[in-house]
Point group: C2
Chain length 469, copies 2
């Protein structure tokens, strides 16, 4: 069934047609502005944001006071980098615990909020995200510019295979695709891959938005059904939620499967905190990489050891990001934990924003990204420790079979737990892991003393994906 | 964890407060209009729609020609009921098969579409729904009026526990809640009930939108965790996707669990074809039942045997519905398969629309509604027949354990299938059922000749829910 549908799909739109049919930029003046002039505007916005968060948001006031920082100390972009203390995910989680549910950095009344989302809670409790009406509106407008840059046009049919639930991921792109005037098919991730393929073909979808793993999985599933994705109507894949779309070997294997289609990276490594996360997005004219729409969310690449020390363009460093416009839960110098390098050379698309030519290529902490979900080994460990009947050691295995990431946890049973109770322990553990992490993590119970005892927790993670690269 | 969060939630808003704080109606003139005057407007719209579908949509043209019907034969509402041939789900499915993907009743170009959704395909292939930008916009505006009638106000935090995927269900209410200015938390159905409860409490949600089964399930799960939902912040439950919210025994058990909160029925028995399905919605001042916003979607209750024969108000009949405004996939006299009775007495809320005082209370075909999903026994049968290794007979059991619907299929293995292959057959069958129906249906393989042979398929369905009522 699927095969035929995909094969007889209407003919594919070329990248050239995609670029030629409509206006080139969503907002030419803004996107091609002289970078020096733009920097003046950015500095102005940064200064306003600093005053706002210091005056109105107790979280920032306390943090800045503790570091002896005052907003008027910033009179240049260099000041901003060298003087403003960063904030971290851990600080946000602690502040939300002390000031539930949104923390003392919400900056909006309950009546002003229009949307609530949340993280999967992989660091324990889920982090809650609140967005005000004004911020929602502005982020939507901005994301039209970003998706236009990625190549979406109003006559596209856009198949969105990202989850629509607590997680923020799929919602932002849906909002913008709709505002831009494209036709959205928000299929989500609750439908079997066979059916997703069938619908992709039946509807002659032009664009697919998903994680890079899933785009690869779709192609190999199609082949398994005897269908060549190279003949599908899909002419553009926009991929986010995890790194990959800017990695040349992955792009090469996608081109082999899908043929000559646009492969665009979006919000790779970006997190829900940074909505509109589309401020970090590729285009059809560069091979991978993302532009940084610095006049919306300001991104810096700084020293991995000292976040107040800039690094030169072309040098690998840590990504720190700042909301220039959001008043509800604004992030000011948020340490993303991502590793990247910045390039100021103009892109051949003509946009004058700096770029991350390789996207995001590493994590500076031990967070695992498995099929687009963030999993902290420390969270897995705390579930295991809290589950009665488990022994001293465990291992977390991550691998890529065919084209999907797989995770497995092996846990020793306690010496005093009869071996016939291992199946119950497994069931309980899997349930607790699902509860705590929001994603399914299979567990296997092994005999006591199977593993060598570890004191350094990262040694308990065996990530075969990175070992192979 | 959950317990505390739910218990310490901010205090509950009374229904009185909900009605008193804001304007009473969204559009007073429209909602309280003299019914006679409204009927003139409805007739005018009906005549325009008939001309439109006959002139522009091949599906309707062929259907009406076949029945010798011409739009100018309608000069009164009575003419509309007695002369216009109905359309059925089966006709739509066949037309989409002949004219994929949207059928010859789409009435919009690909460029005009803004949203695509689909049914779960329980009659075989999924039915695809396409909505034009104009229709999407209008339906959103209209649904504000409907949700206002149901009691949602701009300062509400609205927890939506309906699936966000192929199915249309949750999307329409999200769109309207957002447009109305309320804060939406579209949690969906991918999160465990414990976590849904935790978030409901942490966020002090005011409104929950879900199926009636799920609202009951939330309450009993909360009690299991030692939490009294009567002390939660939730002051309004809006329930759709299946019948129940207008059934007094169910309402009574909900009041016992949740205390004095608004219990409102929406789109009970309505289907995705009829988006904006909120045209059929209750209010806070009547005990159950729904208003029919007849100037948006026109609903008739007619003879179960002859859809061109009206039945008197207060008499049980079949529900037939018509879009007055939609140009993309308009439904004109669509036979919903629902059973209801109509009441012209004005509601105490002051809205002058007719009502279905008992909501929808039956199905005229054999469709099963299980946890809000539509399942046709004929579709289950066709999967079983197509799966090698199955025997002659099967049974479909539906029951309600605790407060959730449960379904189970028992299938005989073929006499020539070795009994040790039963587990593989079960796995295969469950996979095929999931593929075809879009929902998980557990299967159990039983010995050949376990069941008496049946010729009438309905006898293969054992619905213990209806047996008990």
């Amino acid at each position: 069934m699927t095969g035929q549908a995909l094969d007889t799909a209407s003919s594919r739109r070329s990248t050239k047609a995609r670029l030629g049919e409509y206006k080139r930029y969503w907002d030419e003046e803004r996107e091609t502005m002289d970078p020096k002039k733009r920097e003046m505007l950015i500095l102005d916005r940064l200064r306003r944001q600093l005053s706002y968060v210091y005056d109105k948001l107790p979280f920032y006031r306390a943090h800045y006071d503790e570091h002896g920082f005052k907003p008027d100390m910033v009179t240049s972009l260099e000041d901003f980098t060298t003087k403003v203390p960063i904030i971290t995910k851990k600080m946000l989680v602690e502040d939300q615990a002390a000031h539930p549910p949104f923390g003392s950095y919400l900056g909006a009344s309950r009546e002003e909020l229009i949307r609530i989302h949340g993280s999967s809670g992989t660091m324990g409790k889920p982090t809650m995200y609140g967005v005000s009406k004004d911020d929602w509106e502005r982020a939507g407008e901005f994301s039209c510019m970003a998706l236009w840059c990625a190549g979406i046009r109003p006559d596209d049919v856009v198949h969105i295979s990202l989850p629509f639930t607590l997680f923020f991921g799929g919602w932002g792109v849906l909002q913008a695709a709709e505002k831009l005037g494209a036709c959205s098919f928000p299929a989500g991730t609750m439908i079997a891959t066979e059916r997703q393929l069938e619908l992709l073909g039946n509807l002659s979808c032009d664009v697919i938005i998903a994680t890079p793993s899933y785009v690869q999985h779709l192609a190999s599933k199609a082949k398994g059904l005897g269908v060549d994705p190279g003949y599908s109507s899909v002419s553009l894949a926009i991929m986010g939620g995890e790194a990959g779309a800017s990695v040349e070997s992955i792009r090469e294997s996608m081109r082999l499967a899908w043929g000559d289609i646009g492969l665009v990276d979006v919000a790779a490594g970006s997190t829900s905190e940074l909505y509109p996360f589309t401020s970090n997005i590729g285009c059809l004219e560069s091979e991978g990489g993302v532009h940084l729409f610095q006049d919306e969310n300001y991104t810096e690449v700084v020293s991995k050891e000292d976040p107040n020390e800039p690094v030169a363009p072309g040098t690998s460093g840590a990504v720190v990001a700042t909301h220039l416009w959001r008043h509800s839960q604004p992030m000011i110098r948020f340490w993303t934990g991502d590793e990247a390098l910045l390039d100021n050379e103009p892109c051949r698309c003509g946009r004058s924003y700096p770029r991350l030519p390789n996207g995001v290529f590493g994590r500076l902490d031990d967070m695992l990204v498995v099929r687009g979900a963030n999993i902290y080994p420390s969270a897995v460990e705390s579930v295991i420790r809290d589950t009665k009947g488990t022994g001293a050691e465990f291992r977390i295995y991550v691998d890529r079979t065919a084209d999907l990431d797989e995770i497995l946890v092996e846990v020793e049973r306690a010496a005093d737990l009869p071996s016939e109770q291992a199946p119950q322990l497994q069931t309980l553990l899997e349930k607790q892991l699902k509860m705590a992490l929001g994603v399914r993590v299979p567990a296997r119970i092994v005999e006591p003393s199977t593993f060598e005892q570890q004191t350094f927790k990262a040694r308990r993670v065996i990530d075969k994906r990175t070992q192979r690269r």
